[in-house]
């Protein structure tokens, strides 16, 4: 097997709020084309980790390297270029409420100089359709959409510039099981066909099972362990064991996968 390209490299990350240390000496590698799911108990800083990589939260120590760029020390232009190569979907979509869905998806595209407005609008329609929304949803305002549709629209905006990496914060939280399963499938399909690297933070064991190639467990202020679902079932750590062997886990992972799968 060839050496895989590392697209996100975290080394020695330390995040703290006041005296409360959330991450200490945290290391993590994310490889190109994989879907990595980050899990952890409440308050273990899953979203903080996502915000750190996306440059929304400055860590107290450590280095963040995304697509070969040092996020923390990059100058304005380099950062701008980098931001065009990743997309973030926030929990409730975080759509701009004064714009229609189509205009929301067009926002990142406005940074491209010389892009014809008609083409921009057509491309936005394409993205809206790719995330499984109806054509007419493009004319609607975020307040007129359901929670699941807002998440899809948020994903369409994150995908507007064909990023290399997308960050998803709790992609299935607040969706009904059918909507959540459809969203899992959407993430999987898009990741495969567009060659996306997906970094998702979730609580949802079904999502982990259905979409993720690799799982990273946050506990004790660092990434305790990474590996496939099968690897997780072997881990002895009490929290990890409880998480992947609890009653809800048994429902999500009906058959214990074969070793070496």
């Amino acid at each position: 097997m060839t050496e895989r390209e590392v697209v996100i490299r975290l080394r020695g990350i330390r995040n703290q709020f006041g005296r409360q240390v959330v991450h200490e000496d945290l290391d993590l590698d994310v490889y190109r084309g994989e879907i990595i799911g980050v899990v952890g108990g409440s308050g273990t800083g899953k979203s903080v980790l996502l915000r750190t990589i996306a440059g929304l939260q400055k860590p107290a120590a450590g280095s963040v390297d995304v697509l070969g760029t040092d996020v923390l020390n990059a100058d304005e232009d380099t950062r701008q270029k980098l931001e065009n190569r990743w997309g973030v979907m926030f929990q409730d979509g975080a759509l701009f409420s004064s714009l229609t869905v189509r205009e929301n998806v067009e926002v990142p595209m406005r940074a491209i100089t010389g892009l014809d407005p008609q083409i921009r609008s057509d491309l936005a329609d394409l993205k809206i359709s790719m995330v499984g929304l109806q054509y007419l949803a493009g004319d609607k305002y975020p307040s007129e959409l359901s929670g699941g549709m807002r998440k899809r629209a948020g994903l369409a905006r994150a995908l507007a510039l064909d990023p290399d990496i997308v960050f998803l914060d709790e992609p299935t939280a607040g969706l009904d099981p059918i909507g959540a399963a459809a969203f899992d499938e959407l993430i999987r399909d898009l990741s495969h066909s567009l060659g996306l690297t997906v970094f998702l933070v979730t609580h949802d064991l079904d999502t982990l099972h259905a979409t993720c190639d690799r799982i990273a467990v946050l506990a004790e202020r660092k990434v305790l362990v990474t590996g496939s679902m099968a690897d997780m079932l072997e881990v002895e750590h009490p929290w990890v064991h409880e998480y992947f062997h609890g009653p809800r886990a048994r429902a999500a992972v009906p058959d214990k996968p074969m070793k070496g799968d």
Partner: protein, 375 residues
């Protein structure tokens, strides 16, 4: 694959003999505009296939442009050749996702449709008045109930709201009225001096402040401060389903939210009006003394002799009505908030506009009424 270097360049070459378009370079969102225009200049009949062997980078925008071109030339155009596995997969994904255009429902522009919309507006206006009346009814009913069952009445809440809408509004109301008094004295003196009738400035200030401006401007300030606060407070409770929770716990929103707020306004607005009257007269007296040399003693004498006390009552009589309007409008708007933040903002500003407008309309009605009965 470097990202920046090749991102701006692609080239298109048409092989006339085989009817093949050779594309090379990056077909991305950065080059899609140029790609589209070059493709559209290619003569339709000559093209047999498109060769993608030299394409270094293809994204959804490039794939879309290619598929769009292919769709237009339909039958005689073969498929793409030389596409890499990823490009193949991307083209397939985009092809499956190509949006089907649907026409949005057309807005009818005929006169009939206009009349229909106009009628609906009028009707919703009438329903709005009806809803406000209903809220006034709820308030009065719950107030009567509170008199019969004093234990259900929240005195702490009332005192709290009296402080919020009354005490905390004193500085701004007093300052506003003081400045109005100053302005009236100054403007009045310049006009009346032409006739040598400076002393009548006292009557001008007294009548206009006591009868109209004191209470009207106080009500407008209170409408801006308090109607918005009522709407925001009740609206955010409505948004977080607290109102529904209250109902399921057997707590009546009318009794617990509306009565203390509107009653607090009913008690405090006349008091604020009185404070405004005093501050207005004080400002007027001060300015008359400085500008016209009318001493405070003379101002007082003139005030007591020349101004009927009925002006004060005419002014203060309006206060409870204004209070009721502001309170009912604020509470009603709060209850109309839906579960999103935009509606909270919209209803809050609606409440302020409606309350101020209604106060001014009520003031005009009062003026006509008092003029007719000759007070």
């Amino acid at each position: 694959m470097t990202h920046d270097g090749d991102s701006a360049n692609f080239s298109l070459r048409l092989d006339g003999d085989t009817g093949t378009i050779h594309l090379s370079g990056a077909l991305t969102i950065r080059t899609v505009t140029a790609l589209r225009s070059k493709l559209s200049s290619v003569d339709a009949g000559t093209v047999r296939s498109i060769d993608l062997a030299d394409v270094t980078r293809l994204d959804t925008a490039g794939a879309w442009a290619l598929l769009d071109f292919q769709k237009d030339r339909s039958a005689d155009l073969g498929s793409f050749t030389g596409a890499s596995a990823e490009a193949e997969s991307l083209l397939r994904t985009v092809e499956n996702a190509l949006p089907k255009r649907e026409e949005p429902p057309q807005q009818d522009r005929s006169f009939r449709a206009w009349l229909d919309r106009f009628g609906r507006r009028v009707f919703s206006g009438v329903m709005f008045m009806r809803a406000l009346t209903a809220y006034l009814g709820i308030f009065l009913h719950r107030l009567a109930r509170a008199v019969r069952h004093p234990s259900e009445f929240k005195l702490t809440s009332l005192v709290h709201h009296c402080e919020e809408v009354g005490l905390k509004a004193v500085p701004i109301v007093a300052l506003m009225a003081f400045l109005i008094g100053v302005v009236l004295a100054f403007q009045g003196s310049t006009q009346l001096r032409q006739f040598g009738a400076e002393v009548f400035v006292v009557d001008l200030i007294a009548i206009s402040v006591l009868r109209e401006l004191g209470i009207l401007l106080t009500a407008i300030i209170v409408a801006g401060r308090t109607a918005s606060a009522f709407t925001a407070a009740i609206g955010s409770m409505k948004m977080r389903e607290e109102i529904d929770a209250m109902r399921t716990l057997g707590l009546d929103p009318g009794m617990n939210l509306f009565v203390p707020r509107i009653l607090a306004l009913l008690i405090m607005l006349p008091i604020l009006g009185l404070i405004a009257n005093i501050a207005g007269l004080f400002g007027g007296a001060l300015m008359s003394w400085i500008d016209l040399g009318i001493s405070p003693a003379m101002f007082t004498t003139r005030l007591v002799e020349g101004t009927a006390v009925s002006h004060v009552f005419v002014g203060l009589l309006k206060a409870p009505v204004f209070a009721m309007i502001i309170g009912v409008v604020g509470c009603h708007a709060g209850m109309q908030v839906q579960s999103n933040a935009e509606s909270l903002g919209r209803m809050t500003s609606n409440a302020v506009v409606t309350a101020i407008f209604a106060v001014i309309v009520a003031d005009a009605v009062f003026s006509i009424f008092f003029a007719r009965i000759g007070i």
